[in-house]
């Protein structure tokens, strides 16, 4: 185990300015344990008084070795590890993994499962944005927003628990569809949520949007231009806050998103305030999508019938010999996919979340790689913090909305 205090300055000298060596600027460690770094992120700030001259992010404090561990498990068992990457978007991680596996296997997904996946993905998006608004507000000293946002989040977690038994790490979306059908109380709970949520979003906006203190702390802080976003490969609310309407749900639609009518919110300015406005509007658009999806929910099975890849329901095992054999083979050995590699991506609340999956024909994935938006978006930290005060760094980290489980994997 290394002693993290031994940051050898010579190693970082190419990233810091000349003045750090003469002692004119100070190096401050904003360490892994910090109330406002949204997880275990370490920033090395080079300060000239209170102004940040350079910022060197140091990640890896939550490195879990998921990609290596998934190579040792079969495709179905590996999905369990996947929820815990971006832990604020667990169903999104499941969904992108299942989209990659289904693309590889050319597995069909029944229409009811597609619509339910959309509903769950949008509920997860609202859940993630609620945590974001709560914690970012908390960083910028708006404590009551946190308590209000958590109150709404409990309703979403109740819906997840109703479907799958688990509040957060549900592993509910499986290759071929969903694990099982939603219970009868699902529709009433979701419709109730969609009915009360717009007024609650208005409540959060009334606390923050025209608040003079919030505006002072957010306007023209952490500005990034549209060209820089493209150069640095930034996706998600950051690029939409810089004015470019790029959303994977419209650009490369998946799981039936092309059937729903919704807008992509953008805002000009590229600062913290723009990203805040984009996320608040995204929550409203998500409610719109959920409403349309609930109205068009078809009746039918929720998982594919292809017994070579999808285990049969338990009720069938007692009456059919083939089902028993399929069940046995799938749970002991796993299925054998064709050889090849695929890339599938979804729009997570943070940006483009992609899975690169390569198979060599064996029941265990040969290589799974998660292209995570937090890892990509964290690269612009030096760019955004240059020239701002130390107090602004906190707001900037919050506005990029990083989740360290996503960044470190």
């Amino acid at each position: 185990m290394s002693d993290f205090r031994d940051v050898r300055i010579e190693e970082l000298s190419h990233l810091l300015s000349e003045r750090s060596r003469t002692g004119e600027t100070m190096l401050l460690n904003m360490g892994p344990q910090h109330p406002s770094t949204h997880g275990v992120l370490r920033l090395l700030l080079e300060l000239d008084g209170e102004i940040v001259v350079n910022c060197v992010p140091d990640i890896g404090f939550l490195h879990t070795g998921v990609e290596k561990n998934m190579e040792a498990k079969t495709y179905q068992k590996a999905e369990v590890m996947v929820d815990r990457l971006d832990y604020l978007n667990p169903l999104g991680n499941n969904l992108v993994y299942c989209l990659a596996v289904e693309k590889l296997l050319e597995l069909d997904v029944p229409p009811r499962a597609q619509v339910l996946r959309v509903i769950l993905a949008e509920l997860t998006r609202i859940n993630s944005h609620l945590v974001w608004v709560g914690t970012s507000g908390l960083d910028l000293a708006a404590m009551s927003t946190f308590l209000y946002a958590m109150r709404e989040r409990e309703k979403i977690l109740d819906i997840f628990e109703m479907c799958s038994g688990q509040r957060m790490m549900t592993t509910y979306i499986r290759p071929g569809g969903l694990w099982r059908d939603v219970p009868v109380e699902f529709e009433a709970a979701v419709r109730d949520f969609v009915r009360i949520m717009p007024k609650r979003i208005d409540e959060y906006e009334s606390l923050l949007t025209k608040n003079f203190l919030f505006l002072e702390r957010c306007k023209n802080i952490g500005v990034i231009s549209a060209e820089e976003c493209i150069q640095w490969g930034i996706t998600g609310p950051v690029i939409r806050g810089a004015g470019i309407a790029y959303d994977l749900r419209k650009a490369r639609p998946y799981s039936g998103y092309e059937h729903y009518e919704f807008d992509i919110p953008t805002y000009q300015g590229g600062d913290i305030y723009a990203r805040y406005m984009v996320r608040m509007e995204e929550m409203r658009q998500s409610l719109r999508i959920i409403q349309q999806a609930m109205d068009t929910l078809p009746i039918g099975p929720v998982r594919s019938n292809n017994r070579k890849y999808v285990p049969p329901p338990r009720s069938e095992i007692g009456i059919s010999m083939e089902s028993l054999i399929h069940h046995f083979k799938l749970w002991t050995e796993g299925f054998t996919p064709p050889v090849g590699s695929v890339y599938a991506a979804i729009e997570s609340p943070r940006g483009e979340l992609g899975v690169f999956l390569e198979s060599d024909g064996s029941p265990k994935p040969y290589r799974v790689h998660y292209r995570t938006p937090s890892f990509a978006n964290l690269q612009i930290m030096p760019l955004l913090t240059r020239g701002h005060f130390v107090a602004d760094v906190v707001g900037i980290i919050g506005s990029i909305d990083i989740v360290l489980g996503d960044a470190d994997r």
């Binding site: 997880g39 275990v40 404090f61 879990t64 290596k68 590890m81 946190f146």
Partner: protein, 160 residues
């Protein structure tokens, strides 16, 4: 009866020293803000208004280890983070307690590989383990109440 009858009118109450000190420690145990991963989100949900931790005197998360009594290790501890955790534990003044929240902090959880410590008890002495992935807020509250019961049974000899 006895002394209380005579001194009660003067506003004096007698009790055992251990009871009073343990009562004071449990009712105002300040946790250190140490959320690492997914369990941290459930810890935040436990502190929010639905499952209130404020009733235990814990709504205030001290960011500085020097001012806190309780370290709730919420989340998986990776090998890069382990020296940091140990240093923070060493910086906490006595008396201090540790709750290992969740499966990853108790035993390594789902992740049995090169990068994750198989249980934070490899580097810290843990008082209460809370199982779950992540444990429900009620589970965390059960863990905290168990810790309170453990603290209430401490005697003069256990105090540091």
């Amino acid at each position: 009866m006895g002394i209380e009858q005579k001194t009660g009118n003067l506003g004096v109450v007698t009790a055992r020293l251990e009871d009073v000190v343990n009562w004071a420690r449990t009712n105002s145990m300040w946790p250190m803000l140490f959320g690492l991963a997914c369990c941290a989100i459930e810890m935040m949900a436990a502190q929010a208004s639905n499952y209130d931790l404020s009733r235990f005197g814990m709504e205030l998360n001290r960011a500085s280890p020097r001012q806190s009594d309780l370290m709730i290790v919420a989340g998986r501890v990776s090998r890069k983070m382990a020296p940091v955790v140990r240093q923070l534990y060493d910086q906490m003044p006595d008396p201090k307690w540790v709750i290992a929240m969740g499966d990853c902090a108790s035993c390594g959880g789902v992740f049995n590989n090169y990068a994750i410590l198989q249980g934070v008890d490899e580097i810290l002495p843990v008082d209460v383990y809370v199982a779950g992935c992540p444990p429900r807020p009620e589970g965390l509250i059960h863990g905290i109440v168990t810790l309170h019961e453990k603290v209430r049974q401490e005697t003069l000899k256990d105090w540091k």
